[in-house]
Structures are given as structure tokens and as C-alpha cells.
């Protein structure tokens, strides 16, 4: 029995060493193939100080597809870092900005508001445990500690932290040799043919739970906390609603109620809200039911965002 125990211990020790080796190898691979994950962008950011950081869910991501962020920087002369991530609500975005501010600075924060991200834990607490996000997040002890705080304080599943610490999702990543890009980026140049069925399915996906006022209030509070963190760090915050096709916009559930509730929070914190949601109704500006394609991003930038980014204080 004693001999069996010794052998078992040795077996486990060798196994842990091998695991450590695989862990290091996957981290290196991530640094080579990382792309759209906000924490990867923070870890590999070239500058310490930025003029603008963009936060939000996937509707904000096309502004960083292909070479568009570089183009925006060239045209405005501003340093812009887009940290939006697919399906992420205010809680996850607060996590991102908190980590960003540990080693970086920004003068302005552009928050892309989407009502769906305020209606369910699926877009907030649960996003921490999403293997696709974890596997693109490079390991950093400070980030692990920060995630630990979210587990303790905000009800994030401890398994998300365990996954991050063990590197399991990275080791187990089937797409480990592919660039870690969100699939939407491959469709950036596509033009969408609108379909009522697809829109209905998309809405059902984005709003998995019936809108509960207390749930929305909880995530608006998280949003207010995010704004407070920004203000404590001397960051000016601007909230925007980006264009979406009319067919999509008209089916959004309880949008007016959300707008009213969000306006209250934003007013309390003196944050302006620019509602561009109806600015581009033509479906040719979208690559799917609700994401801007290259033409849409170009049009939105030139007509809507550029003047906003260039306002006094933007630089």
C-alpha cells in the first residue's frame, strides 16, 4: 500500500510537470495567434496612454475589424483601443476597463450601449466562464486576482476562475493553431440580405430571458459603477447606440423602457448618450442581421463617430 502511494505521488508529480510545460506552450501559442480578445489587446498594447478606449458588445467590434482601427487613428490622429468583446454586458466591460487601468491610461471612454446586454446574466456573469473568451485571455496574476474579486463580489462562477488559473480552455482549444478572431470578422465585406426569420431568431438569442426590471436595474447599476471607475480615473465617458437595421430595431423588446432607464443613470453621471441606432437603415450597411459591414462602419465613422471622437476633449 505504501509503495502504491509513493508511485501514485511520483506519477502525479511528473504529470504536473508535464502539465506546466503544456501550460507554458499554450500561453506562447496564444501570444502568437491572439487577435480580438480584449485582454490580449491590453497585454500587447503598444502604448501606455490612449485618447479613446471603446467598450461594448459585438456591435462595437467591427470598428476594429481588418485595418479599420488603424484607419480611424490615421484619420483622426488619435490613439484608439477597441476593447469590445462579443456578447459582453456592463459587468464584463467593467472587468475589462479595471484591468486596462492597472497599467494604461485613457482620456476618453466610448461605451457602445446595447439593451440586450442589460437583460440577462448570460451576457454578464456567465461571460466570464465562456471558454471562447477565456482561451483568448493571456495569463496574468493581476488579472487572476481581479477575477477572484468578481467571483467573491459579483457572483461570477468560481469555475471561470479555476478554468483561467488552470489554463484548461487554452490547453483544450480545438482552434489552437488558428487566429483567435471572432467569426464575424471574416464576413466584414459581406452584404446581408434581410430575413425576418433570421432577425426573429437573433432577437430570441439576444434576449433569452423575459425582461425583468430588477435584472435591468442590477446591470444598469454595474454600468453606473463602470462610469464611476472611469470618472475616478479622470476619464470622460460618452455612451452611444450604434446603427442597426430598421427591421432589427423595430423588434427589440422594451427598447423605449430601456432607453428611459439608461437615460436616468447617464444623466445622474453627466454622461451624454448619442443615439445613432436609426442612422443607417439600409441593409447594405450590414453583414448580418445587426452588425455593420465595412461600408457601414465607414459610413458610421465618417458621419457619426469621427465628429464625436474629434470633439474638444477627445484628444
Amino acid at each position: 500500500m505504501k509503495q502504491f502511494g509513493k508511485s501514485a505521488l511520483l506519477f502525479v508529480a511528473i504529470g504536473l510537470l508535464l502539465y506546466a510545460g503544456v501550460f507554458v506552450a499554450t500561453e506562447r501559442l496564444l501570444l502568437r495567434n491572439g487577435h480580438s480578445n480584449p485582454f490580449f489587446k491590453i497585454a500587447t498594447a503598444e502604448a501606455r496612454d490612449y485618447d479613446w478606449v471603446i467598450l461594448g458588445a459585438s456591435h462595437a467590434m467591427p470598428f476594429d475589424f481588418a485595418d479599420f482601427n488603424a484607419l480611424m487613428q490615421r484619420e483622426t490622429g488619435l490613439r484608439i483601443l477597441n476593447l469590445a468583446a462579443q456578447g459582453t454586458g456592463p459587468l464584463y466591460n467593467r472587468f475589462v476597463i479595471e484591468h486596462f487601468l492597472r497599467a494604461h491610461r485613457t482620456r476618453n471612454l466610448l461605451y457602445v450601449v446595447d439593451s440586450f446586454a442589460f437583460t440577462s446574466r448570460a451576457w454578464n456573469e456567465d461571460r466570464f466562464a465562456d471558454a471562447k473568451l477565456i482561451r483568448g485571455t493571456p495569463f496574468a496574476p493581476t488579472l487572476a486576482r481581479l477575477m477572484g474579486n468578481y467571483v467573491r463580489r459579483d457572483g461570477v462562477d468560481p469555475r471561470a476562475l479555476l478554468d483561467y488559473l488552470s489554463g484548461f480552455s487554452k490547453i483544450n482549444n480545438r482552434d489552437r493553431f488558428r487566429r483567435d478572431a471572432w467569426e464575424g470578422e471574416a464576413q466584414f465585406d459581406r452584404v446581408y440580405r434581410s430575413s425576418a426569420t433570421a432577425v426573429a431568431q437573433r432577437i430570441a438569442y439576444l434576449y433569452p430571458d423575459a425582461t425583468m426590471p430588477d435584472v435591468r436595474a442590477r446591470y444598469l447599476k454595474q454600468f453606473a459603477d463602470l462610469i464611476a471607475i472611469a470618472h475616478e480615473n479622470g476619464i470622460r465617458v460618452i455612451a452611444v447606440k450604434l446603427p442597426v437595421p430598421a427591421l432589427f430595431r423595430k423588434q427589440l423588446p422594451n427598447e423605449a423602457e430601456f432607453d428611459a432607464a439608461a437615460a436616468g443613470i447617464l444623466m445622474d453621471h453627466a454622461v451624454p448618450l448619442q443615439d445613432f441606432s436609426a442612422a443607417l437603415d439600409n441593409p447594405n450597411f450590414y453583414f448580418d442581421t445587426d452588425h455593420l459591414n465595412r461600408a457601414g462602419v465607414t459610413e458610421s465613422f465618417q458621419r457619426l463617430l469621427k465628429p464625436l471622437l474629434m470633439t474638444p476633449g477627445g484628444r
Partner: protein, 485 residues
């Protein structure tokens, strides 16, 4: 709780620790408590079903033990059997049959009420175990003087509750009474079985699953060659999914010093469909049907015609038992059962002919080539039946066969020009590995070979297996197919 979930990897060591610290005589109670926690973890309401089935068979067993008059014994027995098997039939088929009746407009515009509930996970398995307990008491193979706790553990034992093996109380209960003790060798074997079962499930089955699902989702759009590939993949997906579960179940049970019955014995190396169903595939279910249905119907004792009918009845009932799987309740399962029953008929009809040929040409009969040929033919007969098992409807099943059949002669050419995806090539690689493993295992068990191998080789194999699970496994908690019964 799934065997592949993180929750389970926390749960199992905890149960093992409590088990080890508990006196031998009370260990069964630890397993009973663990089994109820395990089963009720995600859906606590399901414990009501489990508790009800346990109480029914325990009470009927108790009644059978005490009833002296035959009519009373028969009444108690029938009541118990109808209650457990009837509930299974109602859960599985009532809504489907009601729908079919309305669809055929048999009741004019009358709408039949619906149950609106399906059987909870693993129901078919523990109901069959529970029914065997009752039957064994009725025929005198088992005493009805079992304690409620031990009957409850027999029904609920967590390694087997979701997908078997369908244990017999005559085997299970005496092992409980003799005391549960784990030893290092059995423990090590248990861990190996768990590892191999996980490999089959999360590396092989779950990597093949999306490819199969993709083709069978909209059969009309899938090219014939893709359907053919997916049919082959499904044969290995279902084998690795189900036998993977069984291996994990056997392995976990070994950790507690309790051996469960073997359920799979390299089925795709069968040389006949009779061997496949009788000795190698889902052995515990096959024996259940043999002992409690086939023999009860008269088995092979009442003449050739009656035997043929009995065989077909068993396979049709088996088909019905499989209905309600993740692929829906439909006529496909009845056809699947009938087809396999027809294979047995063909086997029985030609048995004499093959024996005479074997006697006339003994060298040919004993040749390796003939053995391989028989294995290949048997595999393809089973493969054909899997189409009905997997397809969502009869229309889909026939369309798959029609599309493959229409291009059968072109297939060699199509294979050379088909742009295989990386996932498909990986699938073929995994299947090739499995086949080689099983051939080696058939000659002498791989676990035995490893036990006799030098430490470096043995440990190297273990590390390879573990890291294959970590690197290539799909751990996103996809349910075991047979759990959906």
C-alpha cells in the same frame, strides 16, 4: 450530473473520501446517499420518480415474499410490473401515440389529453433493473427479504443509473452484503477504465458527433458521400458514447470495490449479427430480454416458427425501448428492431448451410480471410440498421439510403476528389486508432499488456491518454446519448 462535468470530478473524490472513512458495514449507505445526490443534482424533482419506482418494487417484493396463495402472488407481481413498466411505456409513448391517432384523424376532431412529461434521464435503465428485481423474487431466484436501503441502492447506484449496465439484483445485492472493500489493484484498474471511457466519449464520440449531426440535420441538402461518411462516423460515435459511459461506470464502481457486469465486448469484431447482439453489444440489455422476455415467450423450445416469432418480438420490443432517444420517438426504431430481427432470421435459416460448408471446407472455414470477411459483412449489416436509428424520420432514413445507393458505383471516384475536412480526417484517424486498439485488445487485453509492461512504457501510455483527453477532448458537457432513454 455528467461524468464529464467538473462537478463530477469534485463529487467523486469527496464520495471516495467519505467511503474510505466509513466502516465497511455502513459503506453501502454512503453510496446510497451519494447516488441520490448524484441523480438529483441537476433535477431534484427526478428523485420523486426514482423514489417511487424503488418503493413500488420494494413493497411488491415484500408482498411477494409473504403472500402464500398463488392468485395473490400473481396479483402483487402484475401490479408491480404494470406500475413500473407501464409508467415507462406511458412516459415514452403516450404523447406520441395520441399525436399519431389525432394525425390519422381516428377520433374525428376529438383532442386527446397529453401528459406533457417525458421520462427522466436514465428511467428506462433503472426501471428495467427494478423490474428484474421483482421478476427474480416472483420466480424464486431472489428473496424478498432485502432491506429498503439496499434495494434503493440497487435501483439508484450512481455509476449505472443513467445508462446501465442493467444489473441484476441476484448479482448486485450479495456483493453489497459481503462488504465493500477497494484494493490498490482494483483501484488502479478502475482509474484506467475511467480514463479509457472518457477517451472514447470526449475524444472519439464527441469529436464525431458534430460531423454526424451536420449531415443528418437536413438530409436533403447533404451530398451522398457526406452521408456515407457520417453513417460510418455514427456507428463509432454511438459505440464510443455508450461503451465509454459503461467503461466509466465500471471504473467508478471498481473504485468502491463493486464489480458491475460487462456491457460491451468489442462489438464491431463480431462475425455475425447473432454474436453482435448476443455476446458483444449492450450485453446487459440483451440478457435482460433473453431471460425475461424471450425465454418467457417460450424461447427456442416450441418449434422453429415460434422461435422465429419470439426472436422478432424481442427485437421489436428492443426497438421500442430505444425509441425516444435524442433522435425522437418514431417508426424508425421499430424498423431498426425489425431489421435486426430479420438478420437473426437469416442467420437461423442459413446456420445449417454454413455448418455443412465448414465441415466440407475446414481450412477455408478456419481461415483469417473468411473471419475478416465475416466481420466486415456483419459490421455493414449493423451499419445499415444504424441509418434507421439515427435518422430523424422514416423519410430521412430512406432518403439517406436512396442517396447513397444511387451513387454507390461512383463512390470510389468521389472519394478521390472529395475535399475531406481536417475534422473528417481526424475522425478517420480516431476510428483507425480505435479499431487497432480493439484488435490488439481482442487478442490480449490492453490493460493486461500494460500491467506487464515496463514502468516507463506503462506510465508513458497513461500520460499520453491523459494529455489526449486534455488536448483533444470536447468537454462542453454533451450528454451521453443513452442517458436520454
Amino acid at each position: 450530473m455528467l461524468f464529464t462535468s467538473l462537478d463530477f470530478f469534485v463529487f467523486l473524490p469527496l464520495v471516495l473520501a467519505v467511503f474510505a472513512l466509513t466502516p465497511v458495514a455502513q459503506r453501502w449507505a454512503v453510496l446510497l446517499l451519494a447516488s441520490y445526490v448524484f441523480y438529483g443534482f441537476s433535477h431534484p424533482f427526478n428523485l420523486i420518480y426514482l423514489g417511487a419506482v424503488t418503493l413500488v418494487v420494494f413493497a411488491c417484493g415484500w408482498g411477494l415474499e409473504r403472500a402464500r396463495q398463488r392468485p395473490l402472488r400473481v396479483a402483487v407481481f402484475v401490479m408491480g410490473l404494470v406500475a413500473v413498466l407501464g409508467s415507462l411505456i406511458a412516459f415514452k409513448f403516450y404523447d406520441f401515440i395520441a399525436g399519431e391517432i389525432e394525425h390519422a384523424n381516428l377520433l374525428a376532431d376529438f383532442k386527446l389529453p397529453r401528459l406533457g412529461v417525458t421520462a427522466p434521464a436514465g428511467y428506462s435503465f433503472y426501471v428495467f433493473s427494478a423490474a428484474s428485481y421483482l421478476i427474480d423474487i416472483y420466480v424464486g431466484r431472489l428473496s424478498g427479504r432485502q432491506s429498503l436501503g439496499q434495494v434503493a441502492l440497487f435501483t439508484a447506484y450512481f455509476p449505472k443509473i443513467f445508462a446501465g449496465p442493467i444489473e441484476r439484483a441476484t448479482n448486485f445485492l450479495p456483493r453489497l452484503l459481503s462488504g465493500l472493500r477497494a484494493d490498490p489493484l482494483r483501484f488502479a484498474l478502475g482509474l484506467q477504465l475511467i480514463g479509457w471511457g472518457l477517451f472514447k466519449k470526449v475524444v472519439i464520440a464527441d469529436n464525431l458527433a458534430p460531423l454526424v449531426d451536420h449531415s443528418f440535420k437536413i438530409v436533403a441538402f447533404a451530398p451522398p458521400i457526406e452521408l456515407l461518411i457520417s453513417t460510418y462516423f455514427f456507428a463509432f460515435q454511438i459505440y464510443c458514447d455508450f461503451s465509454g459511459y459503461t467503461d466509466i461506470a465500471l471504473g467508478i464502481s471498481s473504485l468502491f470495490g463493486l464489480d458491475l457486469m460487462e456491457n460491451f465486448r468489442r462489438p464491431y469484431l463480431s462475425r455475425s449479427t447473432a454474436e453482435f447482439w448476443g455476446e458483444r453489444w449492450h450485453i446487459s440489455l440483451g440478457r435482460w430480454f433473453r431471460d425475461y422476455l424471450y425465454i418467457s415467450l417460450g424461447g427456442s423450445r416450441a418449434g422453429a416458427l415460434r422461435r422465429a416469432i419470439n426472436v422478432m418480438v424481442v427485437f421489436l420490443v428492443s426497438g421500442l425501448w430505444h425509441a425516444g432517444l435524442g433522435y425522437g420517438v418514431g417508426w424508425t426504431f421499430l424498423v431498426w428492431g425489425a431489421l435486426n430481427g430479420a438478420y437473426q432470421w437469416a442467420g437461423l435459416a442459413t446456420r445449417g448451410l454454413w455448418r455443412r460448408i465448414g465441415e466440407a471446407l475446414p481450412r477455408v472455414a478456419a481461415s483469417a480471410w473468411l473471419r475478416v470477411l465475416r466481420i466486415v459483412i456483419t459490421f455493414h449489416l449493423i451499419l445499415l440498421s444504424w441509418v434507421f436509428f439515427r435518422a430523424g424520420s422514416m423519410h430521412d432514413a430512406l432518403l439517406v439510403l436512396q442517396k447513397i445507393g444511387a451513387r454507390l458505383t461512383d463512390l470510389p471516384h468521389l472519394l478521390t476528389i472529395y475535399p475531406f475536412s481536417t475534422e473528417q480526417l481526424t475522425g478517420f484517424g480516431l476510428i483507425a486508432f480505435l479499431v487497432v486498439y480493439e484488435i490488439v485488445d481482442e487478442r490480449r487485453p490492453v490493460f493486461q499488456r500494460l500491467a506487464d509492461a515496463p514502468v516507463a512504457l506503462r506510465w508513458g501510455a497513461y500520460y499520453l491518454g491523459i494529455f489526449a483527453l486534455l488536448l483533444f477532448g470536447r468537454w462542453q458537457a454533451k450528454e451521453f446519448i443513452y442517458m436520454q432513454f
